[in-house]
């Protein structure tokens, strides 16, 4: 894998190489999926696909801020579960309570993020340990609170975002609410990360905390803010997931790893300083398309996990290779 002996790519190839590789992988996967199941290419199917990606996409974008800032957030899966269970318990199926339930969830998610951030930055506990700890605390607390079987019910209006859609839309018929939500979230995250001073500071902190500090960036405040963003994204992901799938005692389990996998697939570097929101969208879509394909091909779940593992290692190796060549 030595870059030295490689011939220069021809102009056409070079243009192709300028496209982030995740989109090429996604395109290849989608071609195979459509070849195996032509109905997938219908607009309604594609929208349903986006709807299914929505919770993970929101979660991955939150995770991206933390990763670009140079940390991890392993607690988001447990936070998603906690949100679903809390929403059912407090709301108890009553649509009138939904608004304050959502407010409670938002405050709760922000608080969990704030705690993660402060423990990581001020107490200098590595975020891997901090968020692993809060994952265990949240899982344990949810279990103690519910006794393992959640009570209550999710109100119909709380489930609207993740479950239903706008009817009577030309061409596609029904436009899932999750799709406009995604447009807003992706646009917002892109503006925040790539077009604001805050975003620049997140990159600076992730790229080199010491240099950032010396140039006047409040490293701990920026990093804490990324954790709060991640916590809030988990709340929105929880609401979308509760809408899509309903009440379950382990709604969010495994989502933290899928979110990190998607971010890494998209070329972000663990350790910080690299990553884009648009590529992260590609990472999530690729991961979900892969699951759909493996499902179509009849692979058992353990094999899917292995395939996900191979993919993330390959993506990590490729990113490292590109970093070596450009650096």
């Amino acid at each position: 894998m030595s870059g030295l002996v490689e011939a220069r790519p021809r102009p056409g190839l070079r243009r192709l190489a300028a496209v982030p590789p995740i989109w090429l992988v996604l395109a290849a996967l989608l071609v195979v999926v459509v070849w195996r199941d032509p109905t997938f290419a219908q607009p309604a199917s594609l929208l349903a696909f986006l709807k299914r990606c929505a919770p993970l996409l929101v979660l991955a974008l939150g995770q991206l801020f933390v990763i670009v800032g140079g940390e991890f957030d392993l607690s988001v899966g447990a936070l998603v579960t906690a949100c679903v269970v809390i929403a059912a318990r407090l709301g108890d199926g009553d649509p009138g309570r939904t608004w304050w339930v959502v407010a409670v969830l938002a405050v709760f998610g922000a608080l969990v993020g704030l705690t993660n951030g402060l423990v990581t930055t001020l107490l200098r506990v590595p975020s891997f340990i901090t968020t692993l700890g809060s994952m265990l605390v949240l899982n344990g607390a949810v279990f103690l609170w519910t006794g393992g079987a959640p009570t209550g019910a999710l109100a119909d209006n709380l489930r609207v975002l993740g479950r239903s859609g706008m009817t009577g839309v030309p061409v596609v018929g029904q436009l899932p609410w999750a799709v406009p939500v995604l447009v807003v979230v992706v646009t917002g995250a892109t503006l925040l990360l790539h077009h604001t001073r805050f975003g620049d500071q997140v990159f600076a902190v992730g790229g080199g905390p010491r240099a950032a500090m010396l140039s006047g960036v409040d490293v701990w405040r920026i990093r804490t803010a990324t954790f709060v963003l991640s916590g809030l994204s988990a709340v929105l992901a929880g609401i979308l997931l509760a809408g899509f799938a309903g009440l379950s005692a382990d709604a969010g389990s495994g989502y933290e790893f899928q979110a990190i996998t998607a971010v890494v697939l998209a070329g972000a570097v663990l350790g910080g300083g690299r990553g884009t929101t648009v590529a992260t969208v590609g990472g999530v879509l690729t991961l979900q398309a892969l699951f759909i394909l493996l499902n179509l091909l009849g692979f058992a779940k353990p094999l899917r996990d292995s395939a996900e593992g191979v993919l993330v290692i390959a993506a990590g190796a490729y990113t490292a290779y590109r970093a070596r060549r450009s650096g």
Binding site: T39, F40, R52, G147, G148, A149, T151, L241
Partner: protein, 400 residues
Amino acid sequence: MPKRVRTVTAVLAALTLAATGCSSTRPTGGTGASGAPGSAAANSNSTFKFFSQADFDKQMAQRTMSAQGDPSTPWVQMIQPSMVDTAKYAKPGRKWHLCFSNAALDNPWRVTGMTTMKAEVKLHPEIGDFTVVDAGGKDDKQIADLADLAAKGCDAIIVSPNTTSALTPAVERACRTGVPVVVFDRGVTTDCPVSYVHPIGGYAFGAAAAEFIAQRVGKGGKVLALRILPGVDVLENRWAGAKITFDKAGVNVVGVEFNNADPAKAKGIVSDYIQRFPDLAGVWLDAGFASVATVEAFQDAGRKVPPLTGEDQQDFLNLWKKQNLTAFGSVYPVYQWRTGVIAATWILSGRQVPKEWVLPQPTITADNLDRWIDPGMPPLFFSSCGCQQMPGFPQAWGGR
């Protein structure tokens, strides 16, 4: 599965059959002892690895037998019991110390079960102490738990094993300490426990639900089978029972999918199948937790919900009633958690118990649906607990 050894020969025979080129179509029926229905299961290798024709036949027969005892207390009913003498374990005249090694408390079925078991213990004043150790779904932890219990002075040990093969030696060691052992729920491949408590079994569970679906969709009807995960004997048996039934009825099983106990994944899979097979006529599920997600997948796609199966989880039963679904419930009764304690108390008072305590395995149909709904109970409550008359109901089970 105590009878696994007996099936090894049948398995070997069929594997040879498969290896000699009968792979594309169903192996010709009637070869040897295993017969046509058994061969049908050979289509799926992993299913067949767990298949026992003898157990299958026994369960099919037990489904139609009437159980001994009062039907209003099914947790002390028994099917085909062969009683064993327990006089040597009797410990009259003092308080007993009962110990329970639980595999895990990781799903709502087990949570309902554990609550019910604690309530059962309270019904017996002669039980002085009740020690519960939870293995958290880990074989090595449960093996250690059983070893620890040996030093705790238990008068009887109740075990709900995490996995069959890993826990068999540990249960044997527990038996050797001379303390009577009662196993319930999943089994072990040793007959050293004084009593093994379980409902009829997975073949009957899967077959009953499949018969319902097959009747509704007819020959050639397209059915999706939604399973949790491969490789667990109880679940493999449920699927084997269904597969044999479907094959016999000529039902077209268009897909067998694993959802890994994730309702979001289940809903995604069902949505995909609705797209691919607009004439999907039924959904068979090996467990009830994904039934609601399945119903919603059809509703969200603007389609009529086809016949489907589930369990006695309240959210599904309420939805069934409200939407007037065409549905069926196979019940893996929670009341076996009561029977485990009852068996231990019978043994310690020297009363005879069945070596294999086979409990009735009810089914839920449109006719008896109302009896299975407990209003005011949480969505993930299982009404087969047999706990409705116990002290502390419904609050202790999370109800109102």
